[in-house]
């Protein structure tokens, strides 16, 4: 029986609209990232400049401690902040959303205290998993960058001028989609951890196995929603021009909008992945029952 991706999306969207509290953990993570972004935007000024300016001058150079150089390193600094937030609390909050979604789908009552107790016991595993995923994403980005540049370089003289001008956008989008496609193998790790309660190593193994086995379906379920993030990638790729034509604060506005868009998509994808896991487990149980009869 073919798995209906559209039905999965419809159910996930229904959960998010009818039980919006499932989005609260992602909202908290988004809020923390937005605060980090605002602090980074003002990192060259008072009072953060006293701490940040020596660090920026040491690692990036004098020019980046002043306007407009400081705006150019906002994405880099924000990346480090995002990594810290994801590792320390972001992945934990994702697990909390998946727990709540799992309870909603199974029509059970949600006890936040129990959820926090249960997930806190697995905090170290979740933290290690977050670090592994971040490291994998980082190295994948480097490899994808090198691979794409080596493909594009020989074609530079043949590419139309329009494409060349917007090359940053095309490269960023391509790298983003490659990372999302690879992430498909790991997307079920936290749902398996929350639903089955297995060890982290087993969860990762099972996620890779299921991801490989149902790659096309899972990729469609997971990757397609991320296409909604492409307009934000477009704005970020042209942020220098945006700053020149509008105000410097537009970098901050695009950044914060991007945070909440990606958090919404990630929440949707997390719930879709959980739904997928539960549906496939149900189908497996039915097959077993049918076979035993």
């Amino acid at each position: 029986m073919k798995y209906s991706v559209v039905a999965n999306w419809a159910d996930s969207l229904e959960i998010m609209t009818k039980r919006p509290f499932v989005m609260i953990p992602f909202l908290i993570a988004g809020f923390l990232e937005a605060v980090a972004l605002e602090l980074i935007y003002f990192s060259s000024g008072e009072p953060l400049g006293h701490i940040m300016n020596p660090i920026i001058k040491k690692f990036f150079g004098e020019a980046f401690a002043h306007f407009p150089g400081n705006l150019l390193i906002v994405p880099k600094l924000f990346f480090f902040a995002q990594v810290m937030i994801t590792a320390v609390i972001g992945m934990f909050l994702t697990a909390l959303t998946i727990y709540m979604a799992d309870q909603v789908i199974k029509r059970k009552a949600i006890n936040i205290k129990d959820a926090l107790k249960k997930l806190s016991r697995r905090y170290v595993s979740i933290f290690i998993y977050a670090v592994l995923v971040i490291a994998l994403g980082y190295f994948l980005k480097i490899i994808a960058n090198i691979a794409l540049h080596s493909i594009i370089r020989p074609m530079v003289s043949f590419l139309p001028r329009m494409i060349m001008k917007s090359m940053t956008f095309w490269l960023s989008s391509a790298i983003f989609l490659i990372m999302v496609c690879v992430n498909t193998f790991f997307i079920l790790t936290i749902p398996i951890l929350v639903v089955n309660g297995s060890s982290m190593a087993r969860c990762i193994g099972e996620s890779i196995f299921r991801g490989g086995r149902n790659y096309i379906t899972l990729c469609k379920t997971v990757c397609t929603p991320f296409l909604l993030y492409i307009p934000i990638i477009f704005l970020k790729a042209f942020s220098t021009q945006l700053v020149r034509r509008t105000l410097p604060v537009s970098v901050l506005i695009v950044g914060i909008a991007g945070i909440f868009v990606i958090k919404y998509i990630e929440c949707f994808v997390a719930i879709s992945a959980t739904r997928f896991l539960l549906d496939t487990q149900k189908i497996k149980r039915r097959k077993r029952k049918g076979a035993s009869k």
Binding site: L27, F31, E38, F42, G45, F67, P68
Partner: protein, 297 residues
């Protein structure tokens, strides 16, 4: 849920407002505002006849307002300097001189800013055709701001003035004085970036004096004394200009390049030197071919 979203929006707005308010009078906002003024200034065409008078007046007004709003910031120093430059461009010499004097007094700890202000003052007198007063100001620039780039170039600038204004005797005298000045300073500041600056200016002075042999000796000395890759990159080009183009001694240039190549393998500098060596070999082959053709005839 709606309350939570609203709370998040309010908290983020409050954080932004607080940080914005703290930085309103600080360097952070000053740099931003000054950047906008700098952009307008750089986009202004240089030919005042083609510029709307309003453009320059607008920038002047913006700079004055900026200085009033952010008097104690670092950007204020640069704003003062830009305003003095603007006065000079508009031929408001009295204002340029007064403001330049004010800058040299107010920012006397910042030698770079003060040296530029001093230069503007001297140039104002020069353009006004009051060369005696201009020379006094250039002398102050030369002796009090020797360790700045502008101050260091003052003797050469004065010599060039004489050369360009049909005063060959004064030009020769000034070039010789500049050569002695740079030689002394280079010896005092050897092994430092300043020493390299004085060495380069000494080479330029000898080139203007058409004393290419001395220029060559200075370049050879600089290669020994300033062995950092960043310094050597410029010296490689100087070797080509002096020994190949002026003295027509490509074998000497080749000898120097071969020596340098042994010290700088596998680096961008080595690739630059190899390019120069390839150039010299092509020149040699071309001159051999030309000689053969002439002998053949």
């Amino acid at each position: 849920m709606r309350r939570l979203v609203l709370s998040i929006i309010i908290v983020l707005s409050v954080i932004f407002a607080v940080l914005f308010k703290i930085n309103m009078k600080g360097d952070f906002t000053a740099e931003k505002d000054f950047y906008n003024i700098k952009r307008s200034y750089s986009q202004m065409p240089r030919n005042p006849d083609a510029t709307l008078v309003g453009n320059q007046a607008h920038i002047e007004k913006d700079l004055i307002q900026f200085i009033k709003k952010f008097p104690q910031t670092i950007a204020a120093k640069h704003a003062h300097l830009m305003l003095a430059t603007l006065f000079l461009e508009k031929e408001k010499f009295a204002e340029a001189i007064a403001l330049a004097s004010y800058i040299t007094k107010k920012y006397k700890e910042d030698a770079t800013i003060s040296s530029y202000a001093q230069f503007i003052k001297a140039q104002s007198y020069e353009i006004k055709k009051d060369w005696e007063k201009a020379l006094d100001e250039y002398d102050i620039l030369m002796y009090e701001y020797t360790q700045t780039s502008v101050g260091a170039k003052a003797p050469l600038y004065v010599a060039r003035y004489y050369a360009q204004n049909d005063m060959p005797a004064e030009a020769q005298e000034a070039y010789k004085k500049a050569a002695l000045f740079y030689d002394e300073l280079e010896k005092k500041n050897r092994d430092s970036l300043l020493g390299l600056l004085y060495s380069n200016l000494l080479v330029a002075t000898y080139v203007y004096l058409e004393n290419f042999e001395e220029a060559g000796k200075v370049v050879e000395g600089a290669i020994v004394n300033y062995a950092q890759p960043a310094a050597l990159a410029g010296l490689v080009d100087q070797v080509y200009d002096i020994f190949v183009r002026k003295l027509n001694r490509p074998e000497k240039a080749m000898e120097i390049y071969s020596g340098l190549l042994q010290k700088t393998q596998e680096s961008p500098l080595a690739r630059h030197i190899i390019r120069r060596i390839t150039d010299l070999r092509k020149r040699e082959e071309k001159s051999n071919d030309d000689r053969l053709k002439t002998d053949g005839r």
